[in-house]
Subunit: 368 residues, 2 copies
């Protein structure tokens, strides 16, 4: 790892050991092009959580995620954001990632410190952890805030590169990417995950391609196991990491040493598989294409069923999905409800599948 330290020179491609606020304040002002920050989320978890198979969820219970109150968290957030802003060049920018536990505090602090929000970007996880108790929505996304140093500042935005990454369509504010697992997930010597919240390289790839140029200096004040540094090196950007945990630093050093610049595989990971879009029948009801209470008729006209507000059917004394009710009424092991159930429109009998085709056609015009 190169270490250039001189009067006003930056410690490029180095991981600095220590508290991020102190370390940032020791660096020269207006010297960094981009900051990517993944601060503690302040999760406030209570007891243990078990999966339905009784295995225990390995939660984030590390000391670095514990704060006494919102007030303490807010002070911490404002302090590191202030130090970060001092480091940014006038046309620099910042990305911060978080979840609903902390991201509203972070966004407020960003605005209060004078940053100018450019977009919030949603990372839609292709494979999130489910909600095991069925008490809330699956927590399937995290939020990133992208902001410039101040209102009116110029900032780097590689519009065409992002468009290319997105199959020729303008990049949107929601990114579907898988979470970090498999071989990319770093393990410690005992085979356990080295860091509880390692971010996928595909995410950083899109951030750095979109908002930096080759040779730019990228700083990450919560470096962890160094995803930002690894991707920066691949893409020919300079990085500075700050991390106070020695274990994480060691893993990151080793990881980054093994990275080759311009690794083409990185481009491959960034695109998540796009499956044939699945249209839930319930969406026809939500979108008003079918009305709750409306009659459906079986293709052979032998059976009827009524649509309910939650997208299930009632036919005779059978309740369930369009497929379940069709199968039950026909005494068949399975049934494709989309082609089995029909509606009457203008005296004609039409399968409900026409609505699904309509939605798919809309989606094809403007892909996911």
């Amino acid at each position: 790892m190169t270490k250039k330290m001189g009067a006003d020179a930056l410690p490029l491609n180095t991981i600095l050991a220590g508290d991020c606020i102190e370390m940032m304040n020791s660096l020269p002002e207006a010297s960094v092009d981009l900051i990517f920050a993944d601060p503690p989320y302040n999760l406030q978890l209570r007891g243990d959580l078990h999966r339905p198979d009784n295995s225990r969820v390995d939660a984030v219970d590390d000391a670095w995620d514990q704060f006494a109150s919102f007030e303490v968290y807010d002070r911490f957030t404002s302090a590191w954001l202030k130090a970060a802003r001092r480091l940014l060049k006038p046309n620099g920018a910042i990305w911060v990632i978080g979840s609903y536990h902390n991201i509203f505090r972070v966004g407020t602090a960003l605005q209060n410190e004078g940053y100018w929000i450019l977009n919030d970007v949603v990372w839609r996880k292709a494979n999130p952890m489910p909600n095991f108790r069925g008490k809330r929505f699956t927590n399937a996304h995290e939020t990133m805030i992208w902001a410039s140093k101040e209102e009116g500042a110029k900032y780097t935005f590689n519009y065409e590169a992002l468009k290319s990454l997105n199959e020729g369509v303008q990049m949107r504010s929601d990114w579907v990417l898988p979470i970090c697992n498999g071989h990319e997930r770093l393990k410690d010597d005992s085979g356990e995950k080295a860091h509880p919240t390692q971010k996928p390289e595909s995410l950083l790839h899109r951030v750095l391609v979109g908002s930096t140029n080759p040779g730019d200096v990228v700083l990450d004040p919560f470096f962890g196991t160094g995803t930002t540094g690894a991707v920066a090196k691949m893409l020919g950007r300079e990085f500075i990491g700050i991390e106070r945990d020695e274990g994480y630093r060691k893993v990151a050093e080793k990881r980054i040493a093994n990275v080759r610049k311009f690794d083409r595989d990185a481009l491959q990971v960034s695109a998540s598989k796009r499956a044939e879009p699945r249209i839930p029948f319930g969406q026809l009801v939500e979108r008003g294409m079918l009305r709750p209470g409306e009659q459906l008729y079986s293709m052979n006209m032998r059976h009827k069923a009524k649509v309910r507000a939650d997208g299930t059917l009632v036919g005779g004394d059978v309740k369930g999905s369009i497929h379940q009710v069709g199968a039950a009424l026909e005494g068949a092991p399975s049934c494709n409800g989309w082609t089995y159930w029909c509606i009457r429109r203008d005296g004609k009998t039409v399968p409900i599948d026409i609505f699904r085709q309509q939605i798919r056609a809309e989606m094809a015009e403007r892909p996911i």
Copy 2:
């Protein structure tokens, strides 16, 4: 529109004219089940925005949407959230929708006022307006925050209904729904859109099916053209709207008058098993479905236990309920004995839960 006003009675299915904070404070406390709020966005657009072909984009530039500073906006936000919280029943909940311009302030204020965030939900727009200048990401989503009145409060969550709406997979925190246009988009007399930020009915359908029950009272303090009221009426919920703009109120009145409520049985929604009547295991023994001394086998066939006359089990040297013995033998923190224990019938292995289902079916025919 019905108007029932009395001592402590609620003005159900009415649009109240006036300032939302004053009007909320005039209503009785702890009287509302759900609040849905779409507050002004504080967009701070500088000058007009033009498409590449120079046609003007009709941005949100109404006077009510301008705020002098974040401080003023924060005061306003805290004030209406406080008034709203007073109105909520102890087990009530709130939804607030916004974009990056205001949602971070709103989320922070929610937490500061004592609400407890349950999820943030991203409305992923299927057909957003592109970013014409190519200087940022297409702003393709809005954020909703769902919160209960305080930590530990119960709240309504129709898990099974939402799962049905989503083709049998639990509902995630990212919802893909189209924006409101076409016939659903209300026009004023001159053919212009009646409201700049009319929300789609599909969005409210999912919110109300998921977090209210029929007959619940839903309040919308920024009623606009009344999407909340229209969908509440369809779904057999009661609404209260507050709107200070007379033009919006008139459009909303007319709109809601034309809405038909769905059939009562169409509003029945897939129920959770938690709502089913509780059957003591001992009843199976009393009714002779299982005989004292009969052998039960664990689902994985690794353990056996014997039924006793009082409805407890003996397995190895463990005695207790079907759940306790199952948990002890598996070394698990808990166990559902109904699905864990099986009997042999005609060479097949069947969970004892079939007996419970049988009893429940009898009870449905002849309710107690």
